[in-house]
Amino acid sequence: MSLASIQHPLAASVAQLRVLNQPVPSWEPFEEALARSSLYPLTATGITVFQINVGKLCNQTCRHCHVDAGPDRRESMGHETAELCMRALAATDIPIVDITGGAPELNPNFRWLVKESRRLGRHVMDRCNLSVLLLPSQADLAEFLARHEVEVVASLPYYQAEETDRQRGEGVFQKSIEALRLLNRLGYGQPESKLRLNLVYNPVGAYLPPSQPAIEADFRRELKQRYGIVFHSLYVITNMPISRFLEFLLRTGNYERYMTRLVNAYNPAAAAGAMCRYTLSVGWDGTLYDCDFNQMLELPVGYRAPAHIRDFHLAGLNTRRIVTGQHCYGCTAGNGSSCGGTTAR
């Protein structure tokens, strides 16, 4: 169940921000940590990733989801906004289009966005939950992705069913394995293939992710041995203390300990390489954000940068000042965390 569907107070971003902004003496304000690292104010270094979140509809309801996505959500990017996105993209040479959700493939404009982005010569990434590939309504989805050489970035928190299902729902692991086999059959993940298949690991609980190379080696060995599955890279992502994961932290009494862990693990190198510095995140309604997490906290780009895709102009966004908060410790702890894995290796 999404927080929105049960009208949970934390479904509102203001309620989440109220928790996150509660001062705790031992938690240095994130801006002060940046200042200590000579990174304040944090600014963009140019946009290389145009990330489009097409909405919150999803066929799964993962327990850690920072989007609070689910089958009940109806927020969805319409064609007019999708067109504005492509118009903005066409006016730039931003090389990567990263499409996310929810399950982005369920948006009626998803395939149009893919085709248009490819027509413009851009590399396209699909943040895929895997099980969507098995839905009867999406029977031709995998072939569509392969035909357009879309990079698949697939969530798989662990190489065993117990952990994966605990986070993503009963039976999801088996479906994920089936979907990965389907992708492998189409050429995805094969060593020399240009059909890129990357997996995403995130902890199944209130702890930091392991070293990316170490867990990637485990995934590679175990998925090959147990299921004959191959993939290119594995990205580790830290769970962000927002939305459903924040609710989990608070409900289980893990919030203070987890935040302390994040704050104490602040890494200036990870902050310097944070994805918000090279990403522009577009919301389903066209609002512009520094990242998908700020999007879910309804913190649009600030400091006079154009805040809607209809007002997009690259010069106003390329070196914009980034909106930060205590949640940003999630991306800067340890080896760092981004949609492309660790940021400080």
Partner: protein, 110 residues
Amino acid sequence: MAGYYHQEDLPRFPEMGKSAPELWQKFSEWYSAVFAEGALSAREKALIALAVSHAVQCPYCIDAYTQDCLEKGSNREQMTEAVHVAAAIRGGASLVHGLQMRNAADKVSM
């Protein structure tokens, strides 16, 4: 960890350096070096530490190394096997002393 041990005491561990800072410094450096990647991986060391934590029955260590094992990418299956190793050694250590019993019994018996 209710009663004698308190979870909130674990982060206070460095207070042990207050009255003997040099010893604490030496301990901290040695401790960090022990757990660094070496001939054994950091994950293997965390699993050993988890097993030893159970053998010495230190609630702080169990808490810390459960978290550490998870953060090193171990799963419950692996962590449970590590605890079984500790349990087997403890159990085996008791049982092998049965030989002392047998020796003692032999000595006084006809």
